[in-house]
């Protein structure tokens, strides 16, 4: 057995306390140091942490950023999200291929560089973009792609490629990235100036139950999209039995078109850390975990450093801010490229060192979550707002937004508009006004809440963004008149097919069948009955899937069937055929004719 590998595995496992619930950290570290998690390495890890080998292999095969087979020292992952395609990523991808002399999914002969594609990496406001190892490269062009490859050929270290540093903390020594914040509109809550520690100080003056009461009075609802009342969730967790409780922050924004958490993590990390600490105090938890998506690994060192600074100031650690008996600390759990981990129970599975499979509910995480303990899972934005509510009071918060939907909402806006970026609006903004604000003329359709949300047409631009009308986690993509909506829908179906976890048949199979039928219609072979089929099957997938992924994946098709029906109907065949138009008997007979060396006498 390879001694070096054995030592490397042992060292990494020791660092993680040989804890089987930390398998994610172990395999991510090994992938980074060895370029893969080989079959041999899996055996060694399983032995070291006393797990079955299949548990380790299950994790490695689940996540896109982990691999069993060796990859190049440098892995270029070109983001092929719909918005990136709109901004010309296909040409950029071809430039990468031409310059490297390899195709997508291949590695150069010297074993140095691997080229892959990846779904949305949270850079739609500066698309096309690519991840090169952990580094992010934005606003790519064919020339830039060529220059990057030439630099990598000289020195296979993406950190050494010369870039113009982004604004704010993107230029920080520990980030050093060319990512831009693109904060286009600052609202009163998240992007307003605040005094670090003030919210926490006020919370610690209250009893934990009063903190929950304050959050309940603020009518704060989760910003991830589902809009569950935050105070109520905390109440459940605080009343649930268990000595050990946890606060989890969902920083796995994977919804195509969303990128606001990236900006919050870069610039408003203090609000987030403080919000988690307040949550911990309120529900009686002493530990918090931030689940950071693998695509944002470039922010990890920076965030770890900020956590150290907070520990130094006693904002984290033992007896936080001198409050006797209140200990709280936060660790960062890295993800490894899996959209489904944004679903809270899948996120918990992943934190526990398993495949990112969603869990059955009930029990809900507030009763039995991370490691079987009562757990509050909140979104980055929700937790950041908590800090501000504690600082300024529930009454101040309910004064912003609408009566039913208090506060502001941060939107990630991209696509066909002049000013893509992050906007903080009071909840209740009209789509028309929003389009004016981002300078989007000629919009044909707007995607609200990412592909899991809905695609609306111009007739509905008089609707409002709020929990009672268009609820959204914050991803807004604008499609101009020149775009082919059905092709876009088709690309979003590719995304769901790629990203579903494979557990439930309706989602694993249903999405493929939906896409096949959609393609039949796009190719001009569809009949009217195919539209009913799409509706029926889409409804079934929603009804019978276990988690939020399958319960929303038919939405691109279903919402366009409703809002853009004429596009579908325009493609429907009028005349009826005897044969199914998708069946090509001549093509089906090709193989046999070659083997038999004769032509069919019938066809």
């Amino acid at each position: 057995m390879d001694n070096k590998l054995e030592q490397a595995v042992k060292q990494i496992c020791d660092e993680c306390g040989n804890d089987r619930t930390r398998i994610m950290d172990i395999v991510i570290a090994l992938q980074k140091s060895q370029g893969c998690v080989s079959s041999q390495a899996m055996d060694l890890i399983a032995k070291q942490v006393n797990a079955h080998r299949v548990e380790v292999e299950g994790v490695v095969s689940f996540y896109a950023f982990l691999s069993k087979d060796p990859k190049g020292k440098v892995v270029i992952r070109v983001c092929t999200d719909v918005v990136d395609r709109m901004k010309g990523v296909n040409e950029v991808g071809q430039a990468f291929q031409a310059e490297l002399g390899i195709g997508l999914g291949e590695t150069t002969e010297d074993g140095n560089i691997t080229l892959e594609h990846t779904p949305c990496i949270g850079m739609c406001d500066q698309a096309p973009a690519a991840l090169i190892n952990d580094e992010v490269f934005t606003n790519l062009s064919e020339d830039k792609a060529k220059a990057i490859v030439q630099a990598l050929k000289k020195d296979a270290d993406p950190k050494k490629i010369s870039i113009e540093l982004g604004d704010g903390n993107n230029a920080n020594e520990l980030v050093k990235s060319e990512v831009k914040n693109n904060i286009c509109k600052k609202g009163e809550i998240i992007f307003a100036d605040n005094e670090s520690g003030a919210g926490l100080k006020k919370a610690l003056e209250l009893a934990p139950a009063d903190v929950i009461k304050e959050i309940k009075e603020s009518k704060l609802r989760g910003r991830g999209g589902a809009g569950f009342p935050t105070g109520l969730k905390w109440d459940f967790a605080s009343k649930a039995e268990g000595d050990q409780k946890y606060v989890l922050c969902n920083a796995d924004e994977g919804e195509p078109g969303t990128f606001k958490d990236r900006v919050l993590l870069t610039e408003r990390y203090d609000l987030l850390f403080e919000g988690m600490t307040i949550t911990g105090y309120a529900i009686g938890a002493n530990a918090g975990v931030i689940y950071l998506r693998g695509e944002y690994a470039y922010l990890r060192a920076f965030l770890e450093n900020k956590l150290v600074e907070r520990r130094d100031k006693n904002l984290l650690g033992k007896n936080v801010l001198g409050k006797d008996g209140f200990d709280f600390d936060i660790r960062i759990q890295m993800g490894a490229g899996a959209y489904v981990c944004g679903e809270e129970t899948a996120l918990i599975s992943s934190c526990e060192g398993m495949r990112g499979d969603p869990k059955n509910r009930p029990p809900f995480p507030a009763q039995k979550g991370y490691l079987g303990c009562p757990t509050v899972v909140n979104n980055v934005e929700t937790l950041s707002i908590v800090t501000r509510i504690m600082e300024k009071g529930a009454a101040w918060f309910t004064g912003i937004g609408t009566e039913a939907s208090a506060g502001t909402k941060i939107l990630s806006i991209s696509g066909d508009c002049e000013a893509p970026g992050v906007y903080e609006f009071p909840i209740g903004i009209k789509i028309e006004d929003l389009l004016k604000e981002v300078k989007a003329e000629n919009a044909q359709a707007v995607l609200i809440g990412g592909p899991a949300g809905q695609i609306i047409s111009a007739t509905e631009f008089n609707r409002y963004i709020c929990f009672d009308d268009l609820a959204t986690g914050g991803a807004i993509v604008i499609f101009g008149a020149q775009r082919n909506i059905l092709e876009i829908v088709n690309e979003y179906m590719d995304f769901f097919i790629e990203e579903n976890c494979g557990y439930c048949t309706p989602c694993r199979v249903g999405n493929v069948l939906l896409k096949q039928r959609l393609e039949k219609i796009i190719s001009g072979k569809g009949e009217k009955a195919d539209l009913d089929y799409l509706q029926d099957l889409g409804d079934s997938v929603i009804l019978t899937s276990r988690c939020g992924l399958g319960q929303t994946s038919p939405n691109p098709i279903l919402t366009t069937l409703k809002n853009f029906r004429s596009l579908y109907e325009g493609l429907i065949k009028v005349e009826k055929d005897i044969m199914e138009p998708t069946f090509d008997v001549k093509a089906a007979l090709n193989d046999a004719e070659t083997v038999a060396e004769r032509q069919s006498v019938i066809y």
Binding site: I578, M579, E580, F583, A588, A592, E597, R598, I602
Partner: protein
């Protein structure tokens, strides 16, 4: 599963008894056995319908327009496609009967393997094959195989599906009676439970 559909249009014409045709494509004739398995009810069936083209009576060509065509088996070769098309042209309602017609069934196990490899395994390389001339049968009378086995609804429009391997005689009987009387089909759970 069968959905309700009225056949009053045809019966309203008072053209005598409606006609039924059946075919077995790439199937094992098990579904036809199941049709015969309705036992003495076949006498009632004959009162309700006339049998047109079918292996049961060995009528080779359609004698006129049929109300119902029952199809067993999927499409594995060009002759299957030809027969299925012939049925679609001559029947008002086509029913895929059994798992081979609906999903391809056992014959579709070859679908993951290229046709050439399949034929070579069957006629040349298989461990029990004795074939000194190493020829793959290739008489021009033998229909050419398709690249894979297709379920019937991938080839022509199919109106209804009766799953099962085979669907039981009771299932087929209930379905036909409901269809011929223009009544909704209500199959008891036992008839559509397969494990």
């Amino acid at each position: 599963m069968i959905r309700n559909r009225s056949v009053r249009i045809l019966r309203g014409k008072k053209m005598g008894k409606p006609k039924i045709a059946t075919a077995s494509l790439a199937g094992c004739f098990g579904c036809h056995m199941s049709i015969l398995d309705i036992d003495d009810r076949i006498l009632k069936l004959v009162e309700l319908v006339d049998f047109d083209k079918s292996p049961v009576n060995d009528i080779k060509k359609f004698t006129g327009r049929c109300l119902v065509g029952l199809i067993e088996g999927g499409c594995a070769n060009e002759e299957n496609v030809h027969v299925l098309k012939y049925f679609r042209e001559n029947c008002d309602i086509l029913i895929s009967v059994g798992d081979c017609a609906i999903n391809g069934g056992v014959p579709a196990m070859r679908n993951g393997i290229p046709l050439k490899e399949c034929l070579e395994e069957a006629y040349i390389n298989g461990p029990t094959v004795y074939n000194p001339s190493k020829q793959i049968p290739n008489d021009k009378e033998i229909p050419l195989c398709l690249d894979k086995v297709y379920p019937c609804h991938h080839v022509v429009k199919i109106d209804y599906y009766l799953p099962g391997c085979p669907p039981s005689a009771d299932t087929i009987w209930e379905a036909l009676v409901a269809l011929l009387n223009g009544k909704p089909l209500d199959l008891p759970y036992e008839l559509i439970k397969y494990d």
